[in-house]
């Protein structure tokens, strides 16, 4: 399967060229264009329970679409929900963890599952993250620039900025150290340890939403 990430890095979009018989799975709603004989199958991939888990627990879509080229070559444009970068990652039987909303597309041999994050997830993006396993190509996306950081020892990432990380890394939730920080700043940090890679986005949708909040109309007091 041939692919190209167009319009990198700020407005990235994935273009996939499928040979007859080739397939790509994508998040529902990601399809921007199709060219040639594309067959679309919408399914929960792995059954309703898997779909439900994916949707409710990990913030991805209940249904995933499988696109295949039938009888001739085809092309597909797949777009993430936000402006930013797309990262291709090759899975060779290993695992990768994705934060909510980071999954864009993958080839057929790649499976997505939810992973319980324990109570620390309450304070983080969510109680569950996405565990991606199998063999093939995975594409994930982030808001803003997506930077790959090689960790050897420890590394700190602000809550809400980690997009993906390798399972060889553990993380725990911390706060900035000083007491005053605890009282006044709402900065929760993810402290990663081990050896492996993290992908970090350079903007946060949550921060943007917080920024917009004061612009909302005020309820009239009646």
């Amino acid at each position: 399967m041939q692919y190209e990430v167009l319009c990198q890095p700020s407005f990235s979009l994935l273009e996939v060229a499928l040979e007859p018989g080739e397939k790509i799975v994508a998040e529902a709603g990601a399809m921007a264009w199709m060219e040639g004989p594309v067959k679309t199958e919408t399914s929960t991939r792995g059954g309703a329970l898997a779909g439900l888990k994916r949707a409710v627990l990990s913030g991805e879509s209940f249904f995933q679409n499988t696109y295949s080229a039938e009888g001739g070559p085809a092309k597909l444009g797949l777009a993430p929900g936000s402006a930013g970068d797309i990262v291709p990652y090759e899975l060779q039987g290993n695992e990768l963890f994705l934060e909510r909303g980071a999954y864009l597309a993958s080839t057929e041999g790649v499976r997505c599952d939810s992973k319980w994050e324990g109570l620390k997830g309450l304070f983080n993006e969510g109680l569950f993250i996405l565990r991606v396993t199998g063999q093939g190509l995975l594409f994930f996306n982030g808001y803003g620039d997506v930077q790959e950081v090689q960790v050897d020892g420890q590394y700190t990432v602000d809550n809400g900025y980690a997009v993906a990380w390798e399972p060889s890394l553990q993380y725990r939730l911390t706060r900035a150290r000083k007491i005053r920080s605890f009282l006044f700043a709402d900065q929760l940090l993810l402290s990663f340890s081990g050896t492996g890679r993290i992908w970090v986005q350079s903007r946060s949708p949550v921060s943007l939403a917080n920024w917009v909040y004061p612009f909302r109309p005020q309820k009239s007091s009646d």
Binding site: G144, A185, V200, Q201, R203, W211, P214, R216, K219
Partner: protein
């Protein structure tokens, strides 16, 4: 200390490399990643009078005023990456002692330890719009990081330049400025959708941003449920 501007398309950020013992300050919440040997201390350091209480007052005025200070706590080099909320550029300004800079509150991203940050004077209020603007004065010597909503256009002022308050990123202190209106009267100015503008005169530099965050907020806000 070495400040690296990560210019990656529309979403710039800054990566500050710190040697042992060195520190850097930013608007609190700007850090998105850091090496583990960097201590983060959030304070109201040198941020106007009144310490915490004064700070709380400013927070109620919807202005983020907490500063984070990053310091390497061991003998190896460290790094801190800083980013603003919005899509746009980050610019490094090398401040020298005889030319302090003034940043608008929302544009200040971070500064080196040789720079003093004052927010003593702030709160220009538009008569009709309720639009307000706060300033951060940065003096001393060292790197200052300013962020913009969109791209930055640099103007050398010789004579006079009028800039809408929402488009001002930063300017050199040697410039005189006054609050002004665009039209002949305040009412006309308000009707024109240009609440308050700053009229600069003298010799100096101004960084202007291509987009006005308040205008953007004004577009989004009404689409959202009431708060």
């Amino acid at each position: 200390m070495n400040v690296e501007i990560l210019e990656r398309g529309a979403f710039s950020s800054a990566l500050v490399h710190l040697e042992p013992g060195e520190e850097f300050t930013s608007e609190s919440g700007a850090m998105y990643r850091a090496s583990a040997n960097v201590d983060i201390d959030v304070t109201t350091r040198s941020f106007g009078k009144g310490g915490v209480l004064g700070g709380l007052k400013r927070m109620l005025a919807k202005e983020s005023f907490f500063l984070s200070t990053y310091r390497v706590n061991d003998a190896s080099p460290g790094e801190v990456a800083l980013a603003p909320v919005h899509v746009g550029s980050v610019r490094q300004i090398d401040v020298v002692p005889d030319t302090p800079w003034i940043c608008t509150g929302g544009s200040y991203l971070g500064s080196g330890p040789g720079l003093r940050i004052d927010t003593e004077f702030q709160g220009l209020k538009g008569l009709f719009t309720g639009e307000s603007i706060s300033f951060v004065k940065v003096s001393g010597s060292g790197p200052l990081l300013a962020s913009a909503f969109g791209r930055i256009i640099e103007h050398d002022v010789e004579g006079e330049l009028v800039v809408d308050t929402g488009h001002v990123v930063a300017f050199t202190e040697g410039l005189d400025y006054s609050i002004s209106k665009v039209g002949a009267s305040w009412i006309q100015s308000w009707l024109a959708g240009e609440g308050i503008v700053l009229r600069f005169s003298g010799l100096g530099k101004i960084l202007v941003q291509s987009h006005n965050p308040s205008e953007f907020g004004g577009l989004l806000g009404p689409q959202l449920p009431e708060r």
